[in-house]
């Protein structure tokens, strides 16, 4: 089950679809057979909002699931894109860009085969545009995956157990000023 707490205000019906989206991704990704007769509750607390909300929520969800140590089929990364007036695409939009947008896309890719496991698209667009977004979105998802990797490396570096496994940090040579 999932719940979304808005930044301010009480219950927000808008977020009903987002709650469903989080639940769907959880059901696809978490190996629930490893935890029978267990309820997993996901709560998303929005601290501040400036566009790409669903994508950010999904990415936070992935990191939270990893932090919780829940068994997952794959890691996943969400990308967000909007189609502007002249059919141009803007990736990772801000709230202003979303307001101007004619269509909004949120796509979640999983890391093993890079398949899209979740898509939410609203607005007026064409099938060709959607296919283009699906393909280009993979490259953007790569950046999110590498960010996951960096974050976890930084986190684990503090733990002695893992320091042996991580690649050593090579300090840059100090260049003497002439």
């Amino acid at each position: 089950s999932s719940g979304i707490n808005a930044e301010y205000g009480g219950i927000n019906a808008e977020y009903g679809m987002y709650e469903e989206a989080l639940e769907q991704t959880c059901q696809q990704i978490i190996l629930t057979s490893q935890h029978p007769r267990t309820s997993i509750q996901v709560i998303a607390q929005i601290e501040s909002e400036d566009g790409s909300l669903l994508a950010v929520m999904k990415n936070a969800l992935c990191l939270a699931l990893m932090d919780a140590g829940l068994p997952m089929k794959a890691m996943f990364a969400a990308v967000s894109c909007v189609q502007l007036e002249n059919d141009e695409l803007a990736w990772d939009p801000t709230l202003d860009q979303e307001d101007e947008a004619t269509a909004k896309f949120t796509i979640v890719y999983e890391c093993t085969k890079n398949h899209a496991i979740f898509v939410n698209c609203t607005g007026v667009t064409s099938v060709e545009q959607y296919v283009l977004v699906l393909q280009k979105g993979r490259q953007v998802a790569e950046e999110v995956f590498s960010f996951y990797r960096e974050s976890f490396e930084k986190l684990l570096r503090r733990d002695v157990k893992f320091q042996m496994l991580l690649p050593p940090i090579i300090k840059d040579e100090i260049v003497e000023p002439e």
Binding site: V119, N120, C121
Partner: protein
């Protein structure tokens, strides 16, 4: 014997049929159930339609009410969709709070219906009185794919909605409907239909029935209009690109079939 197996191992049961390129209800793998649309089924509503996909039956009705416009849009009316899946449509639904599925379909109808008509046409007195159209969608029988039936019923109901003329009393400012007066047909900017495919074991099955919905791995739903523009897309399935492309092609073909049925049924020009 077969029923026991179906109850005990539903996925294996489905797989045995798919091996012979057929589905348990006798359809081919890419086959859809017969679509029937009846318009103007509810005479007390401004517009209504009943859609049957095989055994799945959904009724949509438009009820108009006078309301105050919102502060942000003082010259626009509004459409409020509400989907109900009552206990009578399927034993899995209990009476009480709306089921998650009903809320989810309501949200989807809302995102499709926001642009479907020019809301300024629903204005009666700017800033004071506008039409508020309650789009009530009730499922009579849930045998799978209620979303598609609900969207088609919504579109058919809106397509056959006739708004009565209103009379504004100059002294009191009261707005009333002129009984027996002329009616204007509501103009839709586009006709949205959705097509849902259920994903099971690397196969996409269009128009899933209830037993198939229980065992599916995910769904792909796409909303297109009569000009092949994509209005919405919801997918929660692990789908490789080539399957997604094939699904989209199928969706466009199926959407044009649904629209042609809709047009054939709604040929009336008078209320």
């Amino acid at each position: 014997m077969a029923d026991d197996f179906r109850y005990a191992q539903p996925k294996q049961y489905q797989r045995l049929f798919l091996k012979d390129d057929i589905r348990p209800d006798g359809r081919p793998v890419t086959g859809c159930r017969e679509v029937k649309i009846h318009c103007n089924t509810v005479s007390s509503a401004l517009g209504s339609a009943m859609v049957c996909f095989g055994n799945t039956r959904v009724i949509a009705g438009i009820k108009g009410r006078f309301a105050e416009p919102t502060i942000n849009n003082p010259s626009s009316g509004y459409i409020i969709p509400n989907v109900s899946l009552p206990g009578l449509c399927n034993t899995k639904y209990r009476p009480g709070m709306p089921v998650d599925k009903a809320i989810s379909i309501s949200h989807k109808l809302e995102s499709i219906s926001t642009d479907v008509t020019d809301l300024m046409e629903l204005c009666i007195v700017p800033g004071k009185v506008v039409w508020c159209l309650y789009l009530d969608v009730v499922c009579i029988n849930d045998d799978g794919n209620v979303l598609d039936a609900a969207v088609l019923a919504m579109t058919a109901a809106l397509f056959n909605t006739w708004l009565p003329t209103t009379h504004i009393n100059e002294e009191t400012g009261l707005v009333t409907v002129v009984p027996g007066g002329e009616k204007t047909k509501m103009i839709l900017k586009f006709l949205p239909v959705t097509v849902t495919l259920s994903v099971f074991d690397d196969v996409t099955l269009p128009d899933p029935c209830e037993s198939e919905e229980q065992i599916e791995a995910g769904t792909v739903t796409c909303c297109v209009d009569e000009n092949s523009k994509m209005r919405a897309m919801w997918a929660s399935a692990d789908l490789p690109d080539d399957m997604m492309a094939a699904a989209l092609l199928y969706i466009q073909k199926r959407a044009s079939v649904l629209l042609s049925v809709l047009r054939k049924v709604s040929q009336r020009d008078t209320p």
